[in-house]
């Protein structure tokens, strides 16, 4: 299968002009499969961490959203221990006008603004709600431990 022109264009732009704190490069063996790194936003518990993700563009992309997952262990109410991300634009709020770049920026933003009200990792969310600072400290700890 040849790649749709759009994917090529996006890839090209990601490589040449990546958003700050984000890098994404397709794997050699599958151009729909990207290795992604996202740096933790400043003044967030993830600051200083470099998080690895993988991103996959399904056949139906851009009509269907890309699939993204954290590879680096992260303590975040919207990210479970398998790395799955709870983000609306990756689900029902997906729009084909969105791109890989925008998806990754959204994920980066999610790190800066955890939303324990729409949790994926229930225990983390619980922790966050009950003891926010403790949870943040835990997140920092994890960041230090796993993402540096």
């Amino acid at each position: 299968m040849s790649l749709p022109k759009r994917i090529l264009k996006e890839t090209e732009r990601l490589m040449s002009d990546s958003p700050p704190g984000i890098s994404a490069a397709p794997k050699d063996d599958n151009l729909r499969h990207f290795d992604v790194t996202v740096t933790g936003p400043e003044s967030s518990p993830y600051e200083g961490g470099i998080f690895k993700l993988e991103l996959f563009l399904p056949e139906e992309y851009p009509m269907n959203p890309p699939k993204v997952r954290f590879l680096t262990k992260i303590y975040h109410p919207n990210i479970d221990k398998l790395g799955r991300i709870c983000l609306d634009i990756l689900k029902d709020k997906w729009s084909p006008a969105l791109q890989i770049r925008t998806v990754l920026l959204s994920i980066q933003a999610l790190l800066g603004a955890p939303n324990p009200d729409d949790p994926l990792a229930n225990d983390v969310a619980q922790h966050w709600k009950e003891d926010q600072s403790g949870a943040i400290a835990q997140a920092r700890e994890w960041t230090k431990q796993f993402a540096q």
């Binding site: 749709p4 022109k5 759009r6 264009k9 996006e10 139906e60 851009p62 009509m63 269907n64 029902d92 709020k93 729009s95 084909p96 006008a97 969105l98």
Partner: protein, 1207 residues
């Protein structure tokens, strides 16, 4: 016949030489008796013929059921001593019988020499062989080695006295008069030998006697028993193997047998083996010409694929003779060129295995230096080999009958071989001399065209001096043998020592005919097949020939003329000819013109090409040197008058169409025999030259149009076709028949020589075709090089781009549904074994699928026949799991009926809306679509004033529907949006005007009304993937070449309709060319297309109407919208553009939709096992089985499926 003359008197004097040679050792009462069953079949007419030449023959022949061999005594033929025992057959001499109506009818293309049988010829000794028989008697002393035997057919045979009535001849049975007791003659009480009598008339009616023997009702089992006995009453029968091929010959009176016992047990018991020596004589009857129905007869001969009874009889005779010859080891003195040609490629076997027994010529002929093949005679004269002849005859029987119904298609490999054939026919073509056309021809010919002129000229003037001397290509020359001295019963002789070179006879191993006269190759065909590849200027070459050879052949070859006259008018009443004549006189009373000097050329071409011929002839010819006249439509003047005109009104070339000709033919057939028929038909005029353009139009020999062409009278005949063999070798036959190329123009010949062997996968068939083509076909291809190594045609490059497209989502849904249902239906039918009987509806279903690939809307097209019912059901059927019928789906696709009104989008930011509208009017560059990140194509406006490609947004809405979620604008998230909310934006280039209005429900303004640069209309989902791809491409092209001219081919005119609409909306000028247009309309269209314009013009052509012949070199882009079954047709279409006169590079784009029937059709197209005919002829094909296999493949049910392929 000088050959026979010295011999025959001698024969008569010493008939023992001729008949059974007497061995003096026998007891008196043991005189061998020979059953001449051959002459027993002689009816009144044949015997009368004998009568005239031979005073005594009446008695001789009529009584000749039995020729007794009574040692050296002339009166053995019912001489006085024996005649008391003989009941002579009552034969009425009827001198007129042999010239009765049926025999009078001359074969149009006689391939047999005049069947003159020297009056005194009785029979000729052919040779002898040893065979085995079984005793049916018991006891001692019945027979001994050396005792002579009589052969007879055991059962009472019918006697036919009717002469002309063939049908009766087959069923009448009579035994009495023919009964002949020979026992008394020799004093033994042998039972009556029963002879069979057949009239000459019925023989000539070519129901050779096998018909009665084998076909008579109530006698279905073929009787192959040949008994033999001697005068003592001992009876035996020949072994079945031997009898097999002898029975037929005995029954038809072709041969006479005599024999004697070589070895037998002292005491006979039933079933004991007796070794016999059998001598074979060719009887007079063998040389009586067998009449065949010719082309004039509207009988079944031309209508049935199957061989007629006559053909069957001839075939049996041929096979039997072949077996016999090989059994005896007779070898030709001279063979024909064709066999030699075959020999070059190994042992020559053309279907009939018997043919292979014919050794190479023992004398080198003009054509040969071929070595003699190992003589089969040695082998076959041995006992061990005795079954061979029989077996081979039987084989060919079976094969032929089996194959009668098959379609003779060429598979891939064979098609390749055909290329090879052409190639061989092309050898040396580049060394042909060049002939310059006369000055009156204005065009400059290219070198290869001048070569063609040389060749054509030679074909027309015909260097016949050599050819006429040569042996007819199908005949072989043999000599009778001298009978060897008695007393050496078994002798495997060295043939030539015994051959009597002064007594020759000729055999046609293909038809089974025998002749005593030299069969001259009298090929009168003038003309040939000009089969240069498409676009090489066949029209031009033919025109130059018209200039070169202007006058008729009336003087240059009188024999030719008369031959033509003979052949053509033989079956017509003389009066008819006169009428025509007087017509001519009336028209031009002052001009004394010999009626025979035909000078006009008739061009028959597809109607779409008529005006092209007319125009081109006009352009090529110096003023008034050649004037052409289009003779078609309703204003068809009397041809006689028309062509009789002189001076300014003189007509040199008459151009007509196949259709016109066919209707004229029908009219003529109806009227010609009426007493008040006045002539004036095109069939009453003899043309100098008949040219069939796109001659593959007559490839079906049974089609009316083909018959119409065969009947035309002309001295020279030409067939022009870039594809003389379309998909079966039989295609060629029709052309050869039209050309009257002897002997191939005879179906039976062609069939037994090409078709049947071909069916039997015998590669020799192709050798034969090649041999045929060498003489009459000229074919050059664009890629060929001249003697200096340069390309003979220097055409600009051609690029073929196969665009594999992906369905849009709704299209795929519709297609999938349709395909699933069709598949289910097919599987069901197939499982029930009803696939065959529903063949046409299956094809109709396929048709729907193919249409759906072009555009879902096409599927809704009207059903064209009841066959389509099934296909219609495909659309209606509501199978359980589907909520909506396909019709609904398609309707939805079209954006009509069902799509419920979607809720109004809330509020739109007015400033944004204004900005967008302003942009629409002003911006010159196409905006980028958010979804595909390309320039927008088929720009649509969403309610929120965001824009997108139509494809992208439709895809998005479809995806959302699938996921049962609301479709919102991808850019702003407003929604929901539905298909009906989309508004298309049509931009007209070249004029930039501010937008005038908001939404309009207009379908876009007519192109002429150009104030608005942008129209916003209801989204036209009446588009399809292919349509959009086409428009997109056209838009691209016109950026590079604003004056581009392109052809768009589709096989569905309904699709052309949709393309029209789309082009209109896109503001692209188009023209239309299809089958529904009249000739003037077509001509006008082509002319219009040829005009220089400042804007792109697209010619929409229906593949069937415009695929051939047209010269459209003004265009250099070709779009093939769909896939036709036959690649050759598509090739033809492309060559409308890529041909002589094209000076720009040619770009061909083919659109294929991924994962549909198209891909599989293409595959089949490549393998060329082709459904071709099945689909073309509406399903009446006979090889449905094969086609079904193809259909399975198309449905993806075949062995290998191919989802893994590129498309």
């Amino acid at each position: 016949m000088d050959v026979d003359e010295p011999v025959l008197p001698q024969l008569r004097k010493s008939s023992p030489d001729l008949f059974f040679p007497v061995s003096d050792s026998e007891e008196e009462d043991e005189a061998p008796v020979v059953l001449r069953s051959s002459s027993t079949t002689a009816g009144p007419s044949s015997s009368s013929a004998l009568n005239r030449g031979n005073g005594s023959s009446s008695a001789f022949v009529s009584n000749g059921l039995l020729d007794l061999d009574a040692k050296d005594e002339p009166q053995l033929l019912f001489g006085s001593q024996n005649s008391d025992g003989i009941v002579p057959i009552d034969v009425k001499p009827s001198p007129s019988a042999s010239v009765g109506p049926s025999s009078n009818r001359k074969r149009p293309m006689s391939q047999s020499p005049p069947s003159i049988i020297p009056q005194n010829f009785e029979s000729g000794y052919l040779g002898e062989f040893v065979c085995e028989g079984w005793s049916l008697s018991k006891g001692k002393g019945y027979c001994q080695p050396g005792s002579k035997v009589v052969f007879e057919r055991p059962k009472p045979q019918k006697v036919v006295t009717e002469d002309e009535s063939r049908a009766v001849a087959r069923s009448k049975e009579k035994a009495g008069p023919a009964r002949l007791v020979n026992g008394k003659v020799v004093g033994a009480k042998a039972k009556a030998a029963i002879g069979k009598q057949m009239t000459l008339g019925s023989m000539m009616g070519k129901k050779a006697a096998s018909a009665p023997a084998r076909k008579a009702p109530g006698k279905p089992v073929v009787d192959q028993i040949i008994r033999f006995r001697n005068e003592r009453g001992f009876v035996g029968r020949l072994s079945v193997q031997e009898a097999g091929f002898l029975t037929h010959l005995l029954d038809t009176g072709v041969i006479e047998l005599r024999g004697h016992v070589i070895d037998c047990p002292q005491s006979l018991s039933t079933g004991a083996t007796i070794l016999l020596n059998v001598k074979v004589y060719l009887a007079r009857q063998a040389f009586v010409k067998v009449e065949k129905s010719g082309r004039k007869e509207e009988g079944s001969f031309w209508q049935e694929q199957k061989e007629t009874i006559e053909e069957e009889a001839m075939r049996k005779r041929k096979d039997a003779l072949g077996a016999l010859f090989s059994r005896i080891g007779v070898k030709p003195l001279r063979s024909n060129a064709l066999l030699l040609a075959q020999k070059k490629n190994g042992s020559a076997v053309i279907n009939e295995a018997s043919l292979s027994h014919f050794g190479s010529p023992s004398r080198p002929t003009s054509a040969s230096g071929v070595k003699r093949s190992p003589s089969p005679s040695k082998r076959s004269s041995g006992l061990s080999d005795k079954g061979k002849g029989r077996a081979s005859a039987a084989n060919s029987d079976d094969e032929e009958e089996d194959s009668g119904d098959e379609e003779e298609k060429l598979d891939d490999e064979q098609m390749n071989e055909i290329d090879t054939i052409y190639r061989k026919a092309q050898q040396g073509d580049n060394r042909l001399e060049e002939t310059d056309p006369p000055d009156t021809f204005l065009y400059t010919l290219r070198p290869y065209q001048k070569q063609a002129l040389t060749w054509m000229n030679a074909r027309e003037t015909g260097d016949t001096s050599v050819r006429d001397q040569s042996l007819h290509p199908l005949w072989e020359e043999y000599a009778f043998r001298k009978e060897q001295v008695q007393g050496q019963p078994i002798e495997i002789e060295d043939d030539e020592d015994y051959v009597d070179p002064s007594r020759k006879f000729y055999w046609n191993p293909y038809s089974g005919e025998l002749s005593l006269t030299f069969p001259i190759s009298n090929n009168k065909a003038r003309g040939g097949i000009l089969a240069d590849a498409m676009g090489m200027g066949k029209t031009c070459m033919m025109a130059s020939l018209m200039h070169l050879n202007r006058e008729g052949a009336a003087s240059d070859d009188p024999t030719d003329d008369t031959a033509v006259e003979d052949e053509e008018s033989a079956s017509k009443r003389p009066k008819f000819k006169q009428v025509t004549l007087s017509n001519q006189w009336r028209a031009v009373p002052t001009v004394r013109k010999a009626p025979a000097s035909a000078r006009a050329t008739l061009v028959v071409c597809p109607v779409s090409l008529a005006s092209q011929w007319h125009d081109e002839l006009g352009k090529m010819s110096d003023k008034r040197t050649i004037t052409s006249y289009m003779w078609h439509g309703n204003d068809r003047t009397d041809v006689g008058i028309l062509l009789g005109q002189e001076g300014k009104k003189k007509v040199d070339v008459l151009i007509t169409s196949y259709g016109t000709l066919a209707s004229e033919y029908q009219k003529w057939k109806k009227n010609k025999d009426k007493p008040n028929y006045e002539g004036g038909s095109i069939y009453d005029h003899e043309f100098l030259r008949i040219v069939l353009d796109e001659a593959h139009n007559i490839k079906n020999r049974t089609a009316l149009v083909s018959k119409a062409c065969y009947e035309l009278k002309g001295q020279r005949r030409w067939a022009l076709s870039g594809t003389p063999i379309v998909n079966r070798l039989d295609d060629l036959y029709s052309l050869l028949h039209f050309l009257r190329l002897e002997p191939w123009g005879h179906y039976s010949f062609f069939r037994s020589f090409v078709t049947i062997p071909f069916l039997n996968q015998d590669p020799k068939a192709l050798n034969v075709v090649q041999y045929i083509l060498e003489s009459c076909l000229l074919r050059r291809e664009k890629s060929m090089r001249d003697k200096d190594g340069r390309l003979i045609v220097d055409l600009p490059p051609k690029t073929v781009d196969i665009q594999v497209l992906d369905f849009s989502r709704p299209e795929r849904q519709i297609y999938k549904h349709l395909e699933d249902r069709a598949k289910r239906r097919f599987i069901q039918l197939d499982a029930e074994g009803r696939a065959m009987s529903n063949y046409t509806s299956i094809l109709a279903m396929l048709m729907k699928l193919r249409q759906c690939v072009d555009h879902p809307l096409l599927v809704l097209g009207k059903a064209t026949a009841e066959d389509d019912e099934t296909a219609e059901k495909l659309l209606d059927a509501q199978t359980g799991d589907e909520k909506t019928s396909l019709k609904d789906m398609i309707a939805m696709y079209a954006g009509g009926a069902t799509s419920e009104a979607t809720s109004d989008v809330e509020t739109v930011d007015p400033t944004f809306a204004a900005k967008v509208l302003r942009e629409l009017g002003e911006q010159e560059t196409t905006p980028i679509c958010d979804l595909c990140t390309n320039e927008m194509f088929d720009e649509v406006l969403l309610p929120c004033y965001h824009r997108s490609c139509q494809d992208c947004i439709v895809d998005w809405i479809g995806t959302c529907e699938d996921q049962n979620k609301q479709a919102n604008c991808p850019s702003c998230g407003k929604g929901p949006i539905g298909f009906s909310d989309l508004r298309s934006i049509q931009r007209r280039r070249k004029r930039i005007n501010p937008i005038t209005g908001g939404y309009t429900d207009d379908d876009g303004l007519p192109a002429s009304q150009g104030e608005t640069a942008v129209t916003i209309g209801k989204v036209d989902l009446v588009s399809s993937t292919k349509l959009r791809a086409l428009v997109r491409k056209l838009e691209q092209i016109r950026v590079d070449d604003p004056e581009v001219k392109a052809l768009v081919f589709s096989q569905f005119t309904s699709f052309l309709d949709l393309i029209e609409t789309t082009l209109t909306k896109a503001g692209i000028k188009w023209l239309r060319f299809d089958g529904s247009m009249s000739q003037p309309q077509r001509a006008a269209t082509i002319e219009e297309f040829g005009k220089k314009t400042k804007e792109p013009v697209i010619l929409l052509i229906s593949l069937k109407a415009g695929g051939v012949g047209l010269n459209l070199t003004m265009a250099n882009y070709v779009f093939m919208m769909d896939t036709w079954w036959n690649e050759a047709i598509e090739q033809q279409a492309i060559d409308r553009v890529h041909r002589l006169g094209q000076n720009k590079p040619v770009f061909v784009t083919r659109y294929i939709i991924k994962g549909t029937v198209e891909k599989r059709i293409m595959k089949i197209q490549r393998s060329k096992t082709a459904l071709v005919n099945a689909s073309l002829s509406g399903g009446a094909s006979k090889d449905k089985q094969a086609s079904l296999a193809d259909i399975k493949k198309i449905f993806g049910l075949g062995e290998e499926d191919s989802e893994d392929e590129a498309y």
